[in-house]
């Protein structure tokens, strides 16, 4: 699948990655990452969530070390073991939300840790201020070098990070989804800055989910998928449709065998659910036996909707009904007893008490049911835990083994077991297979499929398109807090979902 990056005749790339591999335990995050950045050029890197873009960037930034493959800088092989080495080599990474010192001035932030000094080690404020102003002038932005950075917009904070990179004379600038939190005008200014940097001969890498920006700004585009390099093309030689096809193109139907289930009555009814600034006017229903996939990009507000339905988070207006009866707001206990279960996004923080035993975790949500006359004797919890651990085939040394010592897949099984033990009517699973090994992933999919056959209504939030396409009877798509698409199993194509998730709905229809 992955092919070699063609090294174009012409200038030698300043930074080049060839078939770089990185895995975390059993999880392979990067199978074969390749990339070539050239001087005086803006390069786009696109791909689905989990395609390996961030891992690639972190290797370049010195946060991770590659397991295999080549990493060349000016044609010489390098191996960074810290971000300091990467910085010293002239690489700067600007993240989505910069981390500045809020109580220090703009100038102090730019020169943090390497202040200009006069004799006797006194800090030369005037020289630093002059250099900051000079950089701002080159970038064509006006920023007060003396004000504290607290209260500056994210766009201005990014400019400070860029100024820092320039003062370090960075040759390679990597911008990881810099526009996600910016308004239209701010994006324009950032682009103008990026172009002036390109014209100075620096190499830029721009990671984005927004195709219109990629086409407006970049010269070349590299697509990644499933941790592997797919293709690199000059921007003029490709189209949005072609890029989407490259991002999602794979055979999805064979991966996740979905069993046919009889679709019954409406169980969960969400109507006009709104939480200011997070999600707006969300309405949908889930029927017994149905798996509804909720797709979209990370940050689209899907998990927040799930948490509001379950009652962990508040919402301002709208309603949630279970089998026709209104569910109280902000009351996870009522939601649980009425038959809603939520397997949350972050199993280590939200799903499990990692320092407690497997048995205690499996029975935490049903602890009141297990008590006789209000008392819990060790036996009743262990009996229930035994049942659920063995049904889900949890691999653990003993029922009192600390859950934190289990592998990620087995931890996820414990969370699933904990919620299935409540005998829910609606199961909401948020990224049910994130970060777990392939074998367990297939087990989870088979389990969800069987549960639907038994009449459970399932809402599955997933950022993995193949998972959504393989498992869901119906697919809903969210973007920036709103439902932007609804597809039946037959209508749901990778292209349609990606378009609905990335703001290009009109372009396709």
């Amino acid at each position: 699948m992955a092919i070699e990056v063609e090294t174009p005749e012409g200038p030698r790339p300043v930074l080049e990655l060839r078939r770089v591999v990185k895995s975390f335990g059993p999880v392979v995050a990067l199978r074969s990452g390749s990339l070539a950045l050239e001087r005086g050029s803006i390069h786009a890197l696109i791909g689905e969530n989990g395609a390996g873009k961030s891992t690639l960037v972190k290797i370049v930034a010195g946060l991770y070390r590659r397991d295999a493959g080549e990493f060349l800088l000016d044609g010489r092989s390098v191996d960074f073991s810290s971000t300091a080495q990467s910085k010293a080599a002239g690489i700067a990474v600007i993240y989505q939300e910069p981390t500045l010192f809020p109580d220090l001035s703009v100038t102090e932030n730019i020169f943090m840790g390497r202040q200009a000094v006069k004799r006797l080690g006194r800090i030369d404020r005037r020289a630093m201020r002059a250099e900051a102003l000079e950089i701002f002038g080159r970038l064509g932005v006006s920023l007060d070098p003396d004000r504290v950075t607290d209260g500056l917009s994210i766009a201005d904070q990014q400019i400070i990070e860029i100024a820092k990179a320039i003062s370090l004379d960075a040759r390679v600038l990597i911008m990881d989804e810099p526009t996600a939190a910016l308004s239209g005008v701010e994006v324009e200014r950032l682009f103008a800055v990026a172009r002036s940097l390109r014209d100075e001969g620096r190499a830029l890498l721009f990671i984005s989910h927004r195709f219109d920006e990629v086409f407006a700004l970049c010269d070349t585009v590299t697509v990644m998928r499933d941790g592997s390099y797919v293709d690199t093309t000059p921007i003029g030689d490709t189209t949005v449709d072609e890029l989407v096809r490259q991002m999602v193109g794979r055979d999805v139907t064979e991966l996740y065998p979905k069993l046919d289930a009889r679709i019954g009555d409406v169980v969960l009814e969400v109507d006009g659910l709104t939480r200011a600034g997070v999600f707006r006017d969300i309405s949908f229903e889930v029927r017994a036996g149905e798996i509804v996939g909720l797709a979209g990009l990370v940050g689209a507000g899907r998990s927040e909707v799930a948490r509001a339905i379950f009652g962990v988070d508040p919402y301002e207006s709208g309603s949630v009904r279970l089998e026709g009866a209104l569910l109280p707001k902000r009351d996870p206990r009522a939601a649980t007893s009425r038959g809603i279960a939520l397997v949350p996004e972050d199993r280590r923080k939200q799903g499990l008490v990692l320092d407690d035993g497997v048995s205690r975790n499996l029975t935490l949500a049903i602890r009141s049911k297990l008590a006789t006359w209000g008392l819990l004797w060790g036996g009743s919890e262990n009996q229930a835990a035994q049942v659920w651990a063995s049904r889900l085939d949890v691999k653990a040394a003993a029922l009192d083994a600390e859950t934190g010592t289990l592998s990620g897949g087995n931890q996820q099984k414990v969370v699933l077991g904990k919620w299935l033990a409540t005998e829910p009517k609606v199961l909401i699973v948020d990224e049910p297979t994130r970060g777990i090994d392939v074998g367990t992933k297939a087990e989870v999919h088979r389990l969800l499929s069987q549960l639907a056959q038994q009449g459970l209504a399932i809402l599955m939030i997933s950022s993995e398109l193949p998972e959504v396409l393989g498992m869901a009877d119906r697919v809903l798509v969210m973007r920036e807090g709103r439902l932007t698409g609804g597809f039946t199993r037959e209508q749901a194509t990778p292209e349609a979902i990606m378009h609905a998730a990335t703001a290009l709905t009109e372009a396709v229809r």
Partner: protein, 353 residues
């Protein structure tokens, strides 16, 4: 509801054999130390074995024992209540003033318990509704409640209480050197132990202490639970204030000054983690008795109270160090096992990107 056709596995209930789980614990260590201190004192300290020593020891330690019960629950949820001794003082003053005003003593006592409960409710309100850290809140109310208590009574003391009640506070179980208050304590301790270790409510306390967020996602109302604990702590402290007043026939604003630190020290010595989620009530009771017995024996041996404080402090530090040492040794051991078993048992894996 059946799910997968996975092979039926049976799991061991416990990774370690029963004797290891029972013997190699922090609680057992404290109990053993308590027994050792008692035995050594019996042999080496004159008069330690007299009935009067036992009576005075148990009387003095009774308020600490009582308040340590709700304090344990609070520390298990990773909170703290530093205002308990000030509530004892406030309740003492309220008892004295109302009794002096001619109210029947049981009513005065009830009012004092009520004031304690309200004080606890105030703490709980600031911690759970306003959302302030309990350390800051109760440092504040430590000063506030003490200030009100001293302000109400000035530097005077009320010493006139109905003899029936003061005698009851000092009475022993007939035929033993054990004060009657210990019967009440035994009942309360049993109730607290059952609640903490054998009820769904107790499970929720440990879950909150180990991971608040996961507890909330499991349908536990974290704020309401904590609020209840602070109210309970106030009520018990109020009652301890009444007992304290009767025992010494003395209602003063500065009664039980500094007792909060003795209580918290004993709870921590008894094996409750200051970071929440760990601890057992029998360890706490042994911890209180250990500090009390040691102090009593050293006093009888003619050692000054300054030295006793130094020894108590060292004991606490030693116990904390020993726990960390134990945890470190265990971590090393399980790491060695983990290496032998290979990749299956790795503790965690980072997210894939």
């Amino acid at each position: 509801m059946t799910t997968t056709q996975a092979p039926v596995r049976t799991y061991k209930a416990h990774a370690q054999p029963a004797w290891r789980r029972m013997v190699l614990t922090r609680e057992s260590a404290i109990i053993v130390m308590l027994v050792l201190v008692v035995l050594v004192s019996l042999v080496t300290v004159r008069n330690f074995d007299s009935p009067l020593t036992v009576t005075y020891l148990l009387r003095d330690v009774a308020p600490i024992l009582l308040i340590a019960l709700p304090m344990t629950l609070i520390i298990v949820t990773e909170e703290i209540d530093l205002s308990v001794a000030s509530i004892v003082g406030l309740a003492s003053v309220v008892t004295g003033l109302l009794a002096q005003a001619g109210l029947p003593f049981p009513l005065a006592a009830l009012a004092a318990v009520l004031v304690g409960t309200l004080a606890g409710g105030f703490n709980g309100f600031l911690v759970t509704v306003v959302g302030l850290p309990s350390l800051a809140v109760t440092i504040g109310t430590l000063a506030l409640f003490r200030g009100i208590a001293v302000g109400l009574l000035g530097t005077t003391a009320i010493t006139d209480f109905p003899e029936y009640w003061t005698d009851l506070a000092k009475a022993n179980i007939p035929g033993t050197p054990i004060p009657v208050i210990m019967v009440l304590f035994a009942v309360l301790a049993l109730v607290f132990a059952v609640v903490l270790h054998f009820t769904p409510f107790g499970r929720s306390l440990f879950a909150i202490g180990l991971n608040k967020e996961a507890a909330a996602f499991s349908g536990i109302d974290v704020a309401r639970t904590k609020f209840r604990l602070f109210v309970l702590s106030g009520a018990v402290s109020g009652f301890a204030g009444v007992y304290f007043t009767l025992l010494y026939s003395n209602a003063r604003g500065d009664n039980a000054m500094g007792m909060e630190l003795q209580i918290i020290a004993a709870v921590l010595l008894g094996g409750v983690s200051i970071f929440g989620g760990r601890g057992a009530l029998h360890g706490v009771i042994a911890g209180v008795l250990l500090i009390g017995t040691l102090g009593s024996a050293l006093r009888l041996a003619g050692i000054s109270s300054d030295i006793i404080n130094v020894i108590t402090g060292l004991l606490l530090i030693a116990s904390v160090v020993s726990t960390s040492l134990l945890a470190w040794l265990q971590a090393r051991r399980s790491a060695a096992i983990g290496r032998r078993r290979g990749r299956d048992h790795r503790r965690s894996e980072p997210a894939p990107h």
